[in-house]
């Protein structure tokens, strides 16, 4: 009996396809039975994590970015610090009692990450804020920003936390893990330096 080779080949291919399709359906059934719950759980975890990241960014993003910028004077570096701070929070799940502690934790980590970048000379050069103030022709703000920038880091950080974030010297001491007397002394010296820099500009030394 003669068997057409092409017909045999065609039947083999059809059988192969049928077997593969059946196997795929079984795998799909098994996936829904076994793996789907685990994947759903992982997806829920990821969704919870995303919601947490969005909440942190909405509630504390500006504060973290501004503190990082006060240290680094560069938007890309400040953005990196903001991202790394949130990442540390999400990965380490710190023990915190209330939202104030949460913000303090984030600012402490952002400060440490910023200081690490300064210590390892990993700071870019461009100061977008300086350019922005110049473009707006806000000379008064440019003077103040230049003066604050010229302060040593140890004065800048306490000045930012005290005058911008509104923390007390005791709270800053806890946040930066230093004595309150050190915070007070750095605030005083920072103010004195600012005063001497800005004394030639009328009106800017008010309140110093």
């Amino acid at each position: 009996m003669y068997i057409c080779p092409s017909s045999t080949f065609s039947h083999t291919v059809t059988l192969q396809r049928w077997v593969i399709q059946a196997a795929a359906r079984i795998r799909l059934l098994l996936f829904h039975a076994f793996a789907q719950p685990a994947f759903d759980e992982a997806r829920e975890d990821t969704a919870a994590l995303s919601r947490q990241a969005e909440r942190l960014l909405s509630q504390h993003g500006d504060s973290i970015l501004r503190l990082a910028y006060a240290y680094l004077h560069n938007m890309s570096d400040a953005e990196d610090v903001l991202q790394d701070t949130l990442l540390q929070f999400l990965k380490t799940a710190p023990v915190l009692e209330n939202p104030d502690h949460e913000k303090a934790w984030l600012l402490r980590v952002a400060g440490n990450l910023s200081k690490n970048r300064i210590a390892y000379n990993r700071v870019r050069g461009a100061d977008e804020l300086e350019e922005s103030l110049a473009a707006e022709q806000r000379e008064d703000l440019s003077y103040v920003w230049d003066a604050v920038k010229s302060l040593p880091v140890k004065y800048r950080e306490v000045i930012h936390l005290f005058y911008y974030e509104g923390y007390s010297t005791g709270q800053i001491a806890q946040l930066l893990r230093m004595n309150e007397s050190t915070v007070r002394s750095r605030l005083r010296r920072g103010r004195e330096q600012l005063k001497s820099i800005l004394q030639e500009v009328p009106g800017l030394v008010d309140g110093l």
Partner: protein, 208 residues
Amino acid sequence: MWTAYRDIMEHVSVTEDMRRRILTRLEENTSVPARPAIRFPLYRRLVAAAACLLLLLGGILAAGRVFSSPEVPSDLGNVGNGIPSFTEVSSLQELSQTVGFPVEGLSHIPFTVTETHYTVLMENTAEIRYIGDGTSAVYRKTPGQTDPSGDYGSYAAVLQWDISGLTVTLKGDGTLFSLALWQDGDYSYSAQLSTPVSTAVWENMLSA
């Protein structure tokens, strides 16, 4: 002057683009990487498909039992890695059973404990949170050599203290300390107090 500084800082804020970038990168950094697709040789796929076919044709009744099985395939065990997960349990015994190693907890806590919470973090870190009136203590134990505290801030003072033959690292302001880290055998431990205490109190708490 300080009004000017606040005006300056208002120029620094999280833009929509920055927000999107950060959330995307955070998601990438905290998600499970997709498994690479593996292509098997045709004969192995056919054998697998045939096995599935046999399973389908010969085991419909058995499949009913398989679907009702609560067991999850073991190769899904790493789903969720990198995503912080928290499971609260009801007792110290259940905590030990869930993490798979004995958990001792703290004794001689320097305040009256009104609530105790037991939590499994990241599948194998045990956490006990002791709550008092306006204060708290958190104890963590994890296998390996990693610091389980989640506190990566810098402290003004870090000292090594021998307590009951263990070298304990205490972190604080030099007089009072809020964080203790130590290792014993195959485990790493941390204890954190919301209200810093002296080395004597730590010694009393950890030597018991």
